[in-house]
């Protein structure tokens, strides 16, 4: 029902846009008045005045109506115990899907609910209609008096943009706060130091246990189930392998594209490299798990090495390939933005191309290149799908790239897959891991952005 009203309001708004515009045109042509703004601004003005107040009233009404009705009904039944349940029963009886013991009170409440609903509905329609009529006629009068519609429209647009950015900001804050609260719950059961410095990770030991009922004896048992060191070590290790692949290849291809490639080669090869960034990570994941992992195992066996089929090497390697375009295309941009005059200056004293690149261009572009590498690192740390599929699940604390390891993201996935007890420390551990991961990538991004910004100041 609300949807229909919403559509109607939008329709009214649109038609008043056209109406306002044509009225303004009429004023110009018939009355020979020079208006303060273009006709379309008067259209927007009328349209906004017609739609916006009604929409605001509608959304506020829909937001508060259920609560107000509930309060009104419950105020008549102050002697009923467990009011929420009673109210739910009333609603389901009203909707015709009530099961259980029917009391007289419920019947009365339901009748009252139905009458209140009808009143609310009628008054909503009346209020909306009068809002539309009143505000539209107000705006229409304003058009006649040739107000400065442009300023008002600009003001409303500014407000709209502001509200949009507010939504984005509050969503982010909301996510962070929920991460924070769940993590605080986790850390109230599991000691922060046991989490940060513990070297053994086996959260399944705390599977179906309510966090609030854990006794000190049980805690001793749980103490070393949540040591996150193997996860951080695994994450850092795989990211390191990935960077070992991505940094040289990405940087060199970036240099080639920026300095050596002809326009034609650049035109075709740059998009092809960037396609790498468009491949879904799950595709990389099964490529790593089904092709690269077994390949390493076969090669390793022929060399007499024991290679796990899910290895840090396979995951890191493929992750590195995935990251190449980030580094190559960012460093290509950065190198391109080094002014040509510096190259000329270097060539003019007799430097060769590679000397110029090594001694002038790379140093000048270095902050930007480091920025791109840091962004790539935070991408590698947050990457999930490849490691879930190719790196393994066992939390081994190892530096042997041929063994399977695990990462923070993999463990979060493992913890939250399947049925969850939301107050078990096992589930809450996912939030704690998420929070630490978030802090780590935030820190890296912050440094990267600072470095890149500093670089920009240099040439602008």
């Amino acid at each position: 029902m609300n949807l229909l009203i919403f559509a109607l309001i939008i329709l009214f708004g649109l038609s008043s846009y056209y109406f306002g515009r044509s009225e303004a045109r009429k004023l110009i042509t018939t009355n020979k008045i020079k208006l303060n703004a273009l006709p379309s601004y008067y259209g927007y003005y009328l349209g906004i005045w017609c739609g916006l107040p009604a929409l605001i009233i509608l959304s506020l009404w829909s937001l508060f109506e259920p609560t107000i009705i509930k309060i009104l009904i419950l105020s008549n039944f102050s002697n009923v115990e467990s009011k929420d349940l009673f109210y739910e029963q009333t609603l389901s009886f009203f909707n015709g899907n009530f099961t259980g013991e029917l009391t007289n009170n419920i019947k009365i409440a339901s009748e009252r609910y139905s009458s209140l609903n009808a009143i609310a509905y009628n008054s909503k329609i009346a209020l909306l209609a009068s809002a539309v009529i009143f505000s539209t006629s107000y705006a229409y009068k304003k058009i006649k008096s040739n107000n400065r519609a442009r300023d008002d429209v600009e003001l409303i647009l500014k407000g709209l943009l502001f509200v949009s950015s507010l939504v984005a900001i509050f969503t982010t804050i909301g996510i962070i706060v929920s991460l924070l609260f769940e993590s605080i719950k986790f850390f109230s059961t599991i000691n922060l130091f046991d989490f940060i410095f513990g070297t053994s990770w086996s959260p399944q030991r705390a599977f179906v246990r309510d966090a609030s009922t854990i006794t000190p004896e049980e805690y001793l048992e749980l103490k070393d189930a949540f040591g996150s060191v193997p996860l951080f070590a695994g994450t850092a290790f795989i990211a390191l392998i990935a960077m070992c692949v991505a940094v040289p290849i990405g940087l060199f291809s970036g240099i080639y594209l920026a300095e050596y490639a002809s326009t034609k080669v650049r035109k075709y090869s740059k998009p092809i490299i960037e396609i790498l960034a468009g491949i879904p990570t799950v595709v990389y994941g099964f490529f790593a798990a089904l092709t690269v992992g077994p390949f390493f195992r076969t090669v390793g066996e022929s060399l007499g090495l024991t290679v796990s089929s899910e290895s840090a090497l396979a995951a890191g390697l493929i992750m590195g390939v995935m990251i190449i375009p980030y580094i190559s295309s960012l460093s290509d941009d950065v190198i391109n933005s080094v002014p040509q005059s510096l190259r000329d200056g270097s060539y003019a004293v007799g430097a060769t191309k590679s000397e110029t690149i090594k001694k002038v261009i790379i140093p000048a572009a270095l902050p930007g290149i480091i920025g791109s590498i840091l962004l790539a690192v935070s991408r590698a740390i947050g990457e999930t799908m490849i490691v879930v599929m190719a790196a393994g699940l066992a939390a081994n604390l190892t530096i042997n790239p041929l063994e399977s390891t695990t990462t923070i993201t993999t463990q979060i996935v493992m913890i939250l897959v399947g049925d969850q007890e939301f107050d078990s420390p096992k589930t809450q551990a996912a939030f704690a891991l998420g929070l630490t991961l978030f802090i780590a990538t935030l820190f890296l991004n912050y440094i990267a952005l600072r470095v890149v910004k500093k670089y920009r100041e240099k040439y602008d």
Partner: protein, 257 residues
């Protein structure tokens, strides 16, 4: 006759330059005398800069640029395939329109060229090169106490003298200057002009300029370019007092360009 020939440092014969399909220079024949300042004047886009970039083959760095015809330095062909561009550019320094110091320290800006050519490998030798180059560019007194500060932190005029010092650091014989004062204020310009006057004792200088007054003040010989062709070349005095060509006359009196 022999004496006359040795006076000529650079000589271009039927030089044509193309950018893609567009011809930028048409049959340029120009002789530049040893240890003299030659000024090239003409309206924007007439090919002055293209010409001086041919002398040290800077046009090689532009993909679509094609050069034919001949330029000789001391009787040796520049456009020859066997010429090593690195040694050529060591011999012919260049200063650009906009000061372009490297984002390195003042010291490293000067030391860059010598290091590349393997000169001054010892620290005290390099110190000496830096000092003499900066002295020749009349910058030493202003920067001797802050050689480790970035070259980009200097003022525009100082930056341009730093670039001149950088060009001098590899002991060139010729210095090409592409509107070296166009980004500078009158005081900095006066300093650079003074410097040019001083440098011509030991170097052959070719300067592209948009300022008639500057050409008169610093040069001995002037060439007037228009639409990729040389219209007139003569001593500066003759060009500015009594030009042979009507177009030259119009240009120097400001009637077009």
């Amino acid at each position: 006759m022999e004496l006359n020939n040795s006076k000529i440092k650079i000589k271009s014969k039927n030089l044509n330059v193309y950018y893609g399909n567009k011809q930028a220079l048409h049959n340029i024949n120009l002789e530049i005398n040893n240890k003299e300042v030659t000024a090239l004047i003409g309206p924007s886009g007439c090919g002055k800069s293209t010409f001086i970039r041919c002398i040290n083959r800077m046009n090689d760095t532009i993909d679509i640029c094609k050069v034919d015809g001949s330029i000789e330095i001391d009787g040796k062909e520049v456009n020859d395939k066997n010429v090593d561009v690195v040694t050529l550019r060591e011999k012919i320094g260049m200063v650009f329109q906009k000061p372009n110091p490297f984002p390195k320290s003042i010291y490293d800006n000067i030391a860059y060229g010598p290091t590349i050519h393997g000169i001054g490998e010892k620290k005290d030798e390099m110190d000496k090169i830096v000092e003499t180059s900066l002295k020749k560019a009349a910058l030493w007194d202003e920067v001797k106490d802050r050689l480790n500060e970035p070259g980009t932190g200097l003022s525009g005029g100082q930056q341009q003298r730093l670039c001149i010092a950088r060009a001098l650091s590899v002991n060139p014989e010729v210095i090409l200057m592409d509107e070296p004062c166009s980004a500078l204020d009158p005081i900095a310009t006066a300093k650079i002009e003074e410097l040019i006057d001083d440098l011509k004792k030991s170097y052959t200088i070719v300067i592209v300029t948009h300022s008639m007054a500057q050409a008169v003040r610093v040069s001995q010989k002037t060439g007037f370019f228009h639409l990729g062709k040389i219209i007139e070349v003569d001593t500066t005095e003759k060009i500015f007092k009594n030009p042979a060509n009507k177009m030259t006359q119009d240009y120097i009196t400001g009637r077009f360009g």
